[in-house]
Symmetry: C2
Subunit: 351 residues, 2 copies
């Protein structure tokens, strides 16, 4: 860890929300107190909304459960999965800041990404590193980093078949690197140890309809990652992967995972070529516009594979509507002014 | 180092040639004796061909100087630069095996690459690693690795402006990773600590016309890297970068480098978009065919930027002619058979 246990001024205080998705009491927060106490926590309670979740004293938090989701979203709550990880993307709707699912570090979001050319020395913006000889100077400003994808030590993030085949494998290699995922390249995003800039990419961080009542699960964060990556590529934003690491101590059950995954493993072979072929129209210049376009493409191009994708496309659209409702544009009042005033002649208010 | 100092059976013996480019006696080979003595060395003498280069006893080597180059290539020797690193690509013409410019490890070439999707756990074929959850199963066979690009510790591989701005910076971060450079992404290739499979990509490993008598230098290996990468992308081959590291002890002179580079720094801004836009025709199915096509594209698309690229395009073509002359196709005799026998009806020889 690069920071002292009790930093004098906690980094990004007021800019960072911490999201915790749980089904049980949050005693583990005691271990994270030195790091997390300065921040606002958004706690998403999975499962029975009437169960009381205990949060250690002294934390600034807001707890949401299914009842809150229904109250906040009304009929639009149908776009939020009932259980499982996908359910936690509700928090992304209600937060106001940078989002970080768990870990004490989201500095990757504060330096640019370099998606247009590969830097063999890894992140050129880290101390002691730079662009290697042969890196075009015109590309050295980079682009804004929208997502920071951290990795895990100990229990590897394997699919169920690999878990079953390699039950004793542990990730012990600490790779001291951060790198940009190049433009045009998809990656499998994990929802644990993930930070993103909500202003830049929030509307695309939707975990889809997954798990309970749906044909498959365990592809929730993947779905968000594929959508976010093609939108980042289109809008000249980018994704970094690598540090920071978290230590994962307990593996999930491979038999349960296989049951959730097996249909996804098959469908993924249709989903990936679809995402690899996407070219978003130039007229889409915001994440919302891109996402609406994407929801249509999902219905047209994947709907024939399984009817589920028709529902998913609809849910994507509903999610964007919910986003816009809960996050009205900052200039909503001036948007109500007559267009002629705003565009053709400057209004008296503008300078 | 992963291997014992005196391995019982030297890895890849008979499959690996070691290329050393030098202007002085090779006393340093004593330090490498345990690793290099089992292999055939190709020593390229730069500068005055009449100077005697001393090689320590006990090594199996062949030494080439400018006189040999002229004798072997005749008028085609014009495609080989007179001095500098670019000159060393002559050795790639005369070797028969895997090529490794320096280091004791070219195992990256023995496992596949994964250019079509990003594996956040780095090289999935290393011990203790695998494909991460969400990596499509249909892509897990990977593609053949044509090039292994190793990195440097201590002196970083910086361009002259960065050298001048950061004279004291040292690379101290050992990043324990190997990764595939994704399809469609260019990288700056270094010629030191480079291994490649000559059968797969040899004809594209041409360092161009550089340094002495040419408008600029220090982009020789970059040129080879850009050409090789677009050809790898087209032929479903790929490049790995990362381990193994070498320790570079002495920096080159930034003032001399700047003099060689400054025109390249400018021209590169035209060269990179050109390489990024290349789509090779489907009919090109061998490295040679791709490279001939590339030489034409260079003349058409870069010739207008500087007349130098006309000469370079011609030299690329000459290099391929030299390659074919020195490396006749293995089935040269059967190629002489009538086409009808070979394609329409099986010849009596084939089973």
């Amino acid at each position: 860890m690069a920071h002292p246990i009790t930093p004098l001024s906690p980094p990004l205080k007021g800019e960072l929300d911490i999201v915790i998705h749980t089904i049980k009491n949050l005693d583990f927060l005691e271990m994270w107190r030195p790091f997390l106490q300065p921040y606002h926590l958004i706690i998403i309670q999975d499962g029975d909304p009437y169960k009381v979740i205990k949060v250690p004293n002294g934390f600034d938090y807001k707890l949401y459960n299914r009842n809150n989701v229904d109250r906040v979203l009304g009929p639009k709550a149908r776009c939020i999965s009932l259980m499982g990880f996908a359910y936690s993307c509700f928090d992304f709707l209600v937060s106001k800041k940078c989002i970080f699912t768990i870990d004490d570090d989201c500095f990757n979001l504060l330096t640019p990404s370099t998606p247009l050319f590969f830097n063999t020395l890894y992140d050129p913006y880290r101390d002691g590193a730079d662009f290697i000889h042969g890196y075009p100077f015109s590309l050295r400003e980079g682009v804004s980093t929208a997502i920071s994808h951290g990795l895990w030590l100990n229990i590897p993030d394997y699919d169920a078949p690999t878990q079953l085949v390699k039950p004793r494998e542990r990730s012990t290699r600490y790779v001291d690197a951060v790198m940009t995922i190049p433009k045009g390249t998809l990656f499998p995003m994990s929802g644990m140890n993930l930070a993103f800039d909500r202003e830049l990419i929030g509307p695309a961080m939707y975990f889809g309809l997954m798990d309970y009542g749906q044909p498959f699960g365990r592809y929730d964060y993947m779905w968000a990652g594929w959508c976010a990556k093609v939108i980042c590529d289109h809008l000249n934003l980018e994704v970094k992967t690598g540090l920071p690491y978290i230590w994962r101590s307990k593996a999930s059950n491979p038999f349960v995972n296989l049951k959730k995954e097996y249909d996804g493993i098959y469908l993924q072979e249709e989903i990936i070529p679809f995402f690899q072929s996407i070219v978003l129209p130039k007229k889409c210049t915001t994440v919302q516009e891109c996402y609406v376009e994407l929801s249509k493409l999902v219905k047209v191009n994947l709907g024939y594979v399984d009817h589920y994708f028709q529902q998913l496309g609809d849910a994507m659209l509903t999610r964007i509507e919910a986003w816009e409702e809960l996050n009205p544009p900052k200039e909503a009042s001036s948007a109500a002014e007559p267009k002629s005033l705003k565009k053709e002649e400057p209004s008296p208010k503008s300078k």
